[in-house]
Amino acid sequence: MTRPDDHPTDLLPDYVLASLDPDQDMTVDTHLQSCADCRVEVARLREALFSLADDLPAVAVPEGPWKAIQAQRSRSSAQAPPSSAPSVSVRLRRFPVWPLAAAIALIMAVGGYTLVSTRSGVQTAQASARHWLAQGARLLTLTSKNGQPYGSMYVRPDGRALLVLNKKAAPGQVYQAWGRQASGPRAGVPTSLGLTGGTVMEVSWRGYDSVGVSIEPAGGSLAPTHPLGRTRLPES
């Protein structure tokens, strides 16, 4: 906030309260798109508004709702694909228009990888790579900023990519893949594509201009903490 005159600071409380007239509202909207300081202040004002909830009297939560949530979740997961391959189910949820037959075929394939990987991760990765190359995937080397290779990426034109890392992550750590757009309002903002405790991970790259990999604590992170490197996707 070095030049306070440039920021519509006085309007932000009314913006959060929906007190502004449409013109002012649009002015603030436009400013927020390019001003991180004011976005932070809006977030704080919203936190302040919702802190009204902190002052409500304590009440015991009955047990019924959690049981109902569990029942509802298990009903919906019974209709969903098996959860042995998290990156697949995440992608399915994000791209629901993907044809069902292809989805099933891929789940079978990745399920297969998982089974095989208990015997030999290296064999699995090699078999997967051959399979992907046979399907017309393009091979890219994953390299760090200083040019050190750390894995391979097989990019299929249908929007899917197979990432094969050169070595397993340390115990308690996982590899997490990130997609980034080169332009637009979310340019450079990493979006999690999936994670693996092994060396093979399938992701969907559709809508992104580059794919990166980072090492994260088990469970993954909201943003990359130990990035290994980023690879630009081929122009389609």
Binding site: A53, A58, V59, P62, P65, R73, G219
Partner: protein, 208 residues
């Protein structure tokens, strides 16, 4: 902007957070939200334990909001349930730069309660999403039941308690500025000033 994740948490057994807030004092602000954010990541990757951990941590405040807004335990429990089902479905929409996980959850429950209030008041639901997130939006037609005349008088003399009462009326009661104007007889400008003062007072509790 992103908070550092908690390292070395098991992928399948999220560490318990602070005990459920069901029977404790209201949780102070600002909340350490990194544990919640870690659970959101796990939820995105479909770890069901993460949903339970988030529920244990946030169902208390969520249920309090439901009860305050809807009044009956039956409605409150239904909306509590809907809130966490929706949280699981929309975990990938959470953006840490827009606020804490706690406020993300409260935004969901607030929106669901407003929908119910509108249905009760037989009003159409107004879509007012900012970038896919339920914004803090409110009904659009006037109600007729006026507030206490003393409250109106107090508002005109700008007493902090009155500012707060009007803000709660808007937030928990789901009334628009125009509705508050109709309920109180206060000029619209006065209502806006009261709401603004009340919000800025709450803002003072936040750091920095």
């Amino acid at each position: 902007m992103y908070a550092a994740p908690t390292p070395h948490r098991s992928q399948h057994a999220p560490a318990p957070l602070e005990p459920p807030v069901t029977s404790t004092e209201p949780t102070p602000l600002p909340l350490p939200d990194t544990a919640h954010q870690q659970l959101i990541v796990q939820l995105r990757h479909e770890h069901e334990d993460a949903l339970k951990a988030l529920y244990d941590s946030l169902s208390g405040v969520t249920y309090r909001v439901c009860l305050r807004m809807l009044g009956t335990p039956e409605d409150a429990q239904e909306v509590l349930q809907d809130t966490f089902v929706r949280l699981a479905d929309r975990a990938d929409r959470y953006d840490p730069s827009r606020g804490t996980v706690r406020t993300f959850v409260l935004t969901i429950v607030h929106h669901l309660c407003l929908e119910r209030l509108r249905t009760r008041r037989s009003r159409p639901v107004r879509e007012h999403d900012r970038e896919g997130e339920e914004a803090f939006d409110l009904p659009s037609q006037a109600a007729r039941d006026p507030l206490d005349a003393a409250l109106v008088q107090a508002a005109l003399t700008a007493l902090p308690d009155t500012d707060r009462a009007l803000l709660e009326d808007m937030f928990f009661g789901g009334y628009t500025h125009a509705e508050i104007t109709a309920r109180t007889g206060l000029p619209l400008g006065t209502v806006k000033s009261c709401l603004r003062r009340a919000l800025l007072k709450l803002r003072e509790r936040m750091l920095p």
